[in-house]
Symmetry: C2
Subunit: 394 residues, 2 copies
């Protein structure tokens, strides 16, 4: 018999992908230039040229057996070393290669982190608005996911609701800053307060509460924004990173898990990661990509377009009467929908060929996500449509 769990998942449609597909179909009818598609978080700036240069150089100079051969189950040592050094240089951390586990994107890193520090049946807490995939990620590890309602005025952490929910069955807290979908960056004050609560509660519950920090957008921070490196504030932090957004390689599925050197059971956590891989059929990121990021792990794409787009869009939306907390990074914005039912709102937008994602799937109805990882010209062209939509709600 086919698997019931996965068959049931087919009922819960992938809302984002459906919108994206609808946009693609509509483009065939009305022309791509008449579709304003803000549905998908696919980077709009290319990988820095050094990425492709490095790939070509590796392919042309390395022994193909070494280049394409099995890599160690923890990842290629040189890559782990260079990532540790790059983190330490940037954030003043003290990672060693032994604290780094190479993974298949942030999704792969999370799959390992979530399984390493929990047992099936444990509870994980995260905060709305949150990435919609956290549900299948945690369900796959047999965990109970509790989503703390958003503080919709700031999209920082709703600490009152968090403290009310935190209990001894919680083995880890999962955060995502800079945040998808809100674009908000947790402030130093937020991280310090979170750290202090987790420290006190770990003591009270007689077990560490791990902090799993999902950071694919860490390198997309706008000017003047306070953006603490989270692991520096709480030692029991497992940082999950992806090169998808920083160097625009989402399809190459390359990322890593970095365990704070002073984390409780730091060595053991890394040590069990290859065991986790064996049970989920995920034996390492592509070796060519591992070797490539070793050489480029301090680089980023030219990410400035995202800030340009944010400024144009944020100012225009405010002028048109939308309410939005100003993003500090990423390429997302999460305004309030102009009617309480954000699905109805997004449907109205869709009738104007403006593709937006309702906040419901991020655990935060009454809002909608704009993924402005598109050429600036497309943002400018979409402004009249946002305006027209707002005018209909007057």
């Amino acid at each position: 018999m086919l698997n019931k769990q996965y068959t049931n998942m087919l009922q819960e449609k992938d809302v984002i992908f459906e919108i994206f597909q609808y946009a693609a179909e509509r483009a065939k009818v009305v022309g791509a230039e008449n579709i304003y598609d803000f549905s998908l978080g696919n980077p709009s700036v290319p990988a820095p040229s050094i990425v492709n240069e490095t790939i070509v150089q590796k392919v042309k100079t390395l022994d193909p057996l070494a280049l394409h051969g099995y890599s160690p189950s923890f990842g290629i040592m040189e890559t782990r070393e260079k990532i540790a050094a790059s983190l330490n240089k940037k954030y003043g951390s003290a990672y060693k290669a032994a604290n780094i586990f190479m993974a298949i994107g942030a999704a792969g890193a999370l799959a390992h982190a979530l399984r390493a520090v929990t047992n099936p049946g444990d509870e994980i807490i995260t905060f709305a608005p949150c990435f919609s995939e956290y549900k299948p990620y945690t369900a796959g590890a047999g965990l109970k996911l509790t989503i703390i309602p958003a503080d919709i005025d700031t999209f920082q952490i709703n600490f009152a609701a968090f403290e009310a929910q935190l209990n001894e069955n919680v083995s880890a807290v999962l955060i995502n800053s800079p945040n998808n979908p809100s674009g908000i960056v947790y402030s130093t004050e937020t991280i310090e307060k979170l750290s202090s609560i987790l420290t006190a509660k770990s003591k009270e519950f007689h077990h560490p509460i791990y902090l799993i920090s999902d950071e694919p957008y860490r390198d997309i921070i706008f000017e003047g924004v306070d953006a603490p490196y989270i692991a520096n504030y709480y030692k029991n932090t497992l940082t999950c990173y992806s090169f998808s957004k920083s160097i625009s390689l989402p399809g190459e599925r390359i990322g890593y898990l970095a365990v704070h050197p002073d984390c409780s059971d730091a060595d053991k956590i890394i040590e069990i990661c290859p065991q986790i891989s064996r049970t989920i059929g995920q034996n390492g990121a592509a070796s060519l990509m591992q070797r490539t990021v070793a050489d480029v792990c301090g680089c980023t794409s030219d990410l400035s377009v995202y800030e340009t787009n944010k400024k144009i869009l944020f100012e225009a939306l405010r002028e048109y009467g939308y309410h939005c907390v100003e993003p500090g990074g990423t390429f997302y914005m999460f305004p309030r929908s102009l009617e309480p039912d954000s699905q109805a709102f997004c449907k109205k937008a869709m009738e104007k060929d403006l593709m937006l994602v309702p906040g419901d799937i991020f655990g935060c109805p009454g809002h909608f996500r704009i993924a402005y990882c598109v050429p600036t010209q497309r943002v400018e062209q979409a402004l009249p449509v946002f305006k027209e939509l707002a005018e209909e709600y007057r």
Copy 2:
């Protein structure tokens, strides 16, 4: 608390990797030329030059946003189409692109196949000798793995033992031909008999018993060997393939799942694969590799060295008094150890710096695996050591 299941797995050492690591350490002491390492199944012939040429061409000519961007959750359509066409040309099958799901190597394909057609608690049957990783692969999907004892005279299927074990809780049978560790290829007669039993029992139990066919060695077949394409003999077959061995890309983690077009619930099986990916953090194989194999999926490395090595080794071992069933493919051989305790035997070999893997981990004690994916010269240089070892047992 750290995960108990994975922490416990640390106790069950990875025997192959430990031998490989010991060999690497010994090489530092006595010199690599004095170590005869037959422990690892890492291809010894490079990828065909067209692979690297294709990688460079893709990188130099494709739009980097398209090249490195997210690929569809089923895999890149062009790649799926070309794989289906390549299979149909070679085997007279009738796959459509819709029957192909791109995965992270055969391990990734198996992770999806095993989860798609089972529910936790179901039973899976496989046949000794079998790949040691089938235990964690099935455990990770919550399945009970039954290993049918080997027919040590032929390493074809022990049908009497199989039929005695086959019961209505068995949702799938997992086979691996050409086989790791024996090198044996299941004959047409074996596959026909297996198909006939599965057909009869599916009818009797009122549910399909799926056949999951793990075929990373499918393209390494020696001259004159009867090597049926398994899915042609049983429609409820899920074929798991990897490019690791055929074009020597084990580190790139690229493979696929092919579901027979007439398989029961064929469309649904593929449809739920991306749902499985979401729960195990395995969102697609690297896009550059997907695009590369699209162009080279009919090619192989020059695999002739494996047959050369097989001939030299097989004849010499027989002459020295070893008993071995002659391999029909792969780069493995699985002779009987010269004492019943194959671990003790392999330890004695190790004292001569000859690295062999005891059969116990393949569910078949009393045998040992030789991975002869090494330069022919190394095989020749090792012959006196195999001889000396045999003489000690006279």
